[in-house]
């Protein structure tokens, strides 16, 4: 399968701090890659760097054969990278529909448009004239996903979808992911909630303090291996591993 996205020995610094330390991975077309890791492991920094909101210190980001590492974030949108940012970051003064229209303003060719988003989230049409701050957290997250999808990305970057949402809402949002992939979008997902990320992904990439600590296919990894890569310590399941997490 052809590689859609290749990240090669990426280093990103926040001032003196090395937030991403020699990370490499590939994302084949039509796959879901989950980046998991604890708070501060560098997951969000990695996504934001791929989206162009941070500059890498060194290393390359290659999309469909082109190095996009020097492009501005808005140029990368036109190449097919859309980010659903952590905390949703909707346009607070606008209605639901206006948020989607902004997302569609620089859209690529593809299956998604505002009408298609309304089919995907069938509660939206009735509330399209409402201000986004009147929506619940889960609904806002759906608008954020819709706003990114409507640009017809080749890769959707999802940053901490589950943050601050009720489990039932998280489940409903994750249920959409197979449908999004089926329409030809590859997904790079960042999650603090390991179980959630592992359940949906084709492959898992674990980060620990900016370094790759584990790479694998979910069905082939044991819970112990993941715990170890996540915390950087051995939490043996025979003792109080579950309680410690």
């Amino acid at each position: 399968m052809s590689q859609l996205l290749e990240v090669n020995s990426l280093y990103v610094h926040h001032g003196q701090l090395c937030a991403i330390d020699d990370v490499s991975f590939t994302l084949p077309e039509g796959e879901i890659l989950a980046i998991v890791g604890a708070n501060g492991a560098g997951k969000s920094t990695l996504l934001r760097t791929i989206a162009g909101l941070h500059r890498q210190t060194s290393g390359s980001i290659v999309l469909g054969g082109d190095d996009i590492g020097k492009l501005t974030p808005n140029r990368r949108v036109r190449r097919g990278i859309s980010l659903v940012p952590e905390g949703r970051r909707l346009f607070a003064s606008m209605t639901l529909e206006e948020n989607l229209l902004v997302g569609a303003s620089h859209a690529n060719e593809g299956p998604f448009n505002v009408k298609r988003i309304y089919e995907l989230f069938d509660w939206m049409p009735a509330r399209r004239k409402q201000s986004v701050w009147q929506l619940s957290g889960g609904e806002q997250q759906a608008v954020a996903i819709g706003r990114a999808l409507v640009a017809n990305p080749r890769i959707l970057l999802l940053d901490e979808l589950s943050l601050g949402l009720a489990p039932i809402v998280i489940e409903r949002i994750y249920a959409l992911i197979p449908e999004i992939v089926a329409s030809g979008v590859s997904i790079l997902i960042v999650e603090q909630d390991v179980a959630q990320g592992v359940a949906v992904a084709d492959r898992v990439h674990c980060l620990l303090e900016g370094k790759t600590s584990l790479v694998g296919i979910p069905s082939e990894l044991t819970a112990q291996q993941i715990d170890r890569a996540y915390f950087g310590a051995d939490l043996t399941p025979t003792t109080t591993g579950a309680a410690a997490s």
């Binding site: 909101l53 501005t72 949108v77 980010l83 909707l90 206006e98 902004v102 701050w133």
Partner: protein, 290 residues
């Protein structure tokens, strides 16, 4: 009757303040830049209308047709070069740069055109007024300026809410990074916002020259009034700016009724009261996305 007259005269001058202030409000709302040269740009527009457009054989009353588009272009260029460079450094730099621009403009105008007062000559209509009652004099020019202000705000409102570019301007104002993630080149959007701001302030500058005399240093005091109108009305609200301008105008007329020396004082007092009681302004929003 005298109070009604105060309301009428205050509203008329308030229309001018709103026209003058809407560009300032837009620059602050979208670029987060307080343009301290805003008032001076208006004065420059007045000088261009008086001294340069006659060379094109355009009557001064129609000079805005040429001056406003030129200032829009200048706004875009100044934003993409000077102001963007200072935004990229830090917010404080923008204050220094626009303040410096203000000093340079005032002194250049003094050097070239001297400190003499100038007016935009529009003929006899400049002195005529409508006289509906014994003590009411409504100047045609002031009425025209108020009408222009309302029209400009209406067009701006429609542009921001109905067009794609207008939506992008609001998106960048709300969240610059998220707008970039929707494919918007925020520098270009900043340029468009600055172009609108410069175009409206050019219109305000010419209107000022039709209403009264201006000199190279007239920008400063008008910038103060515009700033007060924006804060009273609430930052980010166009109609708030109109209400703020009118409130300021009425307060000034009210003060002037007791003593001409109280005119500006009364406006400043209203400004301070609003800041103390309702810092977000009459129509400003406090709510934000959690």
């Amino acid at each position: 009757m005298i109070w009604l007259n105060i309301l009428i005269q205050g509203t008329l001058i308030g229309g001018f303040y709103a026209l003058f202030a809407c560009g300032l409000s837009l620059m602050f709302g979208v670029l987060k830049v307080i343009n301290l040269a805003h008032g001076d740009m208006a004065v420059v527009a007045g000088y261009v209308a008086v001294f340069l457009t006659p060379h094109l054989h355009i009557p001064e009353i129609w000079s805005f047709l040429v001056v406003v588009p030129i200032f829009g272009l200048i706004g875009y260029i100044v934003q993409r070069t000077l102001i963007q460079k200072s935004i990229d450094r830090d917010p404080f730099t923008t204050l220094l740069v626009t303040f410096g621009l203000s000093v340079v403009i005032e002194n250049l105008l003094l050097e070239v055109y001297s400190a003499n007062g100038q007016t935009v000559n529009i003929g006899a209509i400049g002195y005529e007024s409508w006289h509906p009652g014994s003590i009411f004099y409504i100047s045609y020019v002031s009425l025209g300026v108020l009408g222009t202000a309302v029209l400009v705000l209406l067009i701006l409102q429609m542009f921001l809410s109905r067009t794609n570019t207008g939506r992008l301007i609001r998106a960048v104002a709300d969240d610059r990074e998220a707008a970039q993630m929707s494919g918007a080149n925020y520098r270009h959007i900043f340029g468009i916002a600055a172009a609108i701001a410069f175009a409206t302030v050019a219109l305000a500058g010419i209107a000022y020259g039709m209403m009264t005399q201006f000199a190279p240093t007239s920008g400063g005091v008008n910038l103060l009034f515009a700033f007060e109108a924006v804060v009273i009305g609430g930052i980010g609200s166009l109609w708030g700016t109109l209400i703020g301008g009118v409130a300021l105008g009425i307060a000034q007329q009210f003060g002037a009724h007791f003593n001409v020396g109280y005119q500006i004082l009364a406006g400043n007092v209203l400004f301070l009261i609003v800041l103390a009681i309702r810092p977000q302004g009459l129509f400003g929003r406090k709510t934000a996305l959690s």
